[in-house]
């Protein structure tokens, strides 16, 4: 194997290592600022209008129950408010990110439902007998349970707990990939005598990283396989969809940044190559130009 071929193989190797470490770095940064970020999740909750949709759904579910129990739906309007739903939902997510379990004060909620039904009964001169007292209490219990079912998300602590696991390794992944990238850059710099050759391998690495950051996230964003996720209610489904959409878009933003860097490096390659030719390098090293 000639020295030129050996040099190219080594350069290819370090260029690939650089490309892959840049990819790991980009993914780690994207995950750190999306899936693993509490602020990002809270922001997505707000953007997708999760609490408003959840409030509507909860209200409608409780209205159906109220209807079954002979109580007009507006009797519970002051209890199931968007503000209350928002507070509870945000607390559930924030507590889960902090590794804690948020519990809604169901006793307080139950007594509010009970009170609202009794107020309605007294305002409409409906007599409350011992029998109806039990029926009303049963309705209040079911309304409370429905509220809890609508607001709580089954397995949220487990899911967020699983999401938080990679965050322990993110510092290591970011630090490690930066170190490997720097070593690769130094090695490429030392192996290649001329700047344009060195920069060309950097350009290969950047464009490789661009492709890795674009192909699968782009494919997922176009085909959206997660649209058919069998998750209900509707607001949870749309939240998960918008959350995944935004995460994939962030990856594409990372790819766009790489593309800009690639263009800069590409321009520099041309610039340094022209300069090298001007210096007469081509005449002296005819066989080593490629």
């Amino acid at each position: 194997m000639s020295n030129t071929v050996l040099r190219r193989v080594i350069c290819f190797f370090f260029s690939f290592i650089l490309s892959f470490s840049l990819f790991v770095l980009s993914i780690a940064i994207t995950m750190q600022s999306s899936v693993l970020s509490k602020d990002f999740l809270i922001n997505q909750l707000s953007i997708s209008g999760y609490h408003l949709k959840a409030a509507d759904y909860t209200k409608s579910s409780i209205s159906d129950l109220a209807f079954a129990g002979g109580v007009p739906s507006d009797v519970f309007d002051e209890i199931v408010t968007p503000e209350r739903v928002k507070t509870d939902i945000y607390n559930i997510f924030e507590y889960a990110y902090d590794g804690k379990q948020y519990s809604i004060d169901s006793e307080k909620l139950n007594s509010e439902f009970l009170e609202a039904i009794k107020t309605y009964a007294s305002e409409n001169n409906i007599e409350i007998t011992a029998e109806t007292e039990t029926n009303i209490s049963h309705l209040a219990d079911l309304c409370t349970q429905t509220y809890l079912d609508c607001i709580n998300i089954a397995g949220i602590n487990t899911v967020i707990g699983a999401l938080r696991q990679p965050s322990k390794f993110m510092g290591f992944a970011i630090g490690g990939s930066i170190l490997i990238a720097l070593i690769s850059i130094i090695m490429l710099f030392l192996i290649n005598k001329y700047k344009h050759k060195f920069l060309r391998y950097i350009a290969y690495a950047l464009s490789g990283n661009f492709l890795m950051m674009t192909v699968i996230p782009g494919f997922l964003l176009i085909t959206k396989p997660y649209v058919n996720l069998n998750i209900s209610p509707d607001y949870l489904h749309s939240f998960i969809n918008s959350f995944l959409d935004e995460t994939l878009k962030m990856m594409l933003v990372g790819a766009a940044v790489t593309a800009v860097l690639y263009i800069i490096v590409f321009v520099l390659v041309s610039h340094f190559k022209k300069r090298a030719i001007k210096k007469g390098y081509k005449e002296r090293n005819k066989n080593n130009l490629v």
């Binding site: 002979g70 029926n135 309705l139 079911l142 492709l211 192909v215 058919n228 209900s232």
Partner: protein, 227 residues
């Protein structure tokens, strides 16, 4: 004719090829590396995700739909049988028929699946029971303060009509009774005959959710059998 390229052209072509092939190669190698390293994680994650992803478009279970066509319903079938191919099996939350009892002025849309949403819009059939014409029990519920309020005035011998897209079914009331909400002997869905069971909360016109149910039993009188 043989085309000759100058060494400069060859050199430029090689460069261009390198700018295309190297990134593609890196991308393929990178993905391959990820696949090899993460196979133990990717495989179970994909199998689990397959459980949650369906081929059909996402449909919110709470959304009510309708396949009932009032115009075709009465004229469609007057014979003794109807071919299975003419029967559109309703999905959960679908308004597929109308239920009427002239003697007590009940006329309600009939939904398949007894969700709260369906019960607020009409009367609802338990989706574990059978459709009219299938020769098996049909279990239908309704709220006692809306569509089934006047069920309290029903009598033995009254006629109940279920109008579907594939035929009109008539049933005659044989019995009414009051039972506990959890009394499993109040109906038998495994029975091998077509009977209609309607139920609602009891007592009527009361506040709250009651622990008793008012049952109405009816036998099939006419309507095409699905074959």
């Amino acid at each position: 004719m043989k085309i000759h390229f100058s060494s400069n052209q060859k050199h430029n072509f090689k460069n261009l090829l390198a700018y295309i092939c190297m990134p593609v190669g890196f991308c393929v190698l990178g993905y391959l590396l990820i696949y090899i390293v993460f196979t133990p994680i990717i495989t179970p994650v994909l199998s689990v995700s397959e459980m949650f992803i369906s081929d059909a478009d996402f449909k919110n279970g709470e959304n009510l739909t309708s396949i009932f066509d009032k115009n075709s319903a009465s004229s469609e079938n007057t014979g003794d049988t109807v071919d299975m191919s003419q029967v559109q099996i309703p999905s959960y939350g679908t308004h597929y028929a109308n239920l009427s009892i002239d003697s007590v002025s009940i006329d309600a849309p009939l939904y398949f699946g007894d969700s709260s949403a369906a019960l607020s819009q009409g009367v609802a059939q338990y989706n574990g029971s059978f459709l009219p014409g299938f020769g098996r029990p049909i279990l239908i519920s309704g709220h006692n303060n809306s569509y089934f309020n006047s069920l309290q005035y029903i009598s033995v011998g009254d006629e109940i009509t279920i109008t579907t897209n594939y035929g009109v079914y008539k049933y005659k009331v044989t019995e009414t009774k009051i039972a506990a909400y959890n009394d499993k002997t109040a109906y038998d869905l495994a029975a091998q005959e077509e009977n209609l069971i309607l139920y609602t909360c009891y007592p009527f016109d009361t506040l709250g959710l009651t622990p008793q149910r008012f049952f109405v039993y009816a036998d099939k009188v006419s309507g095409p059998d699905v074959v």
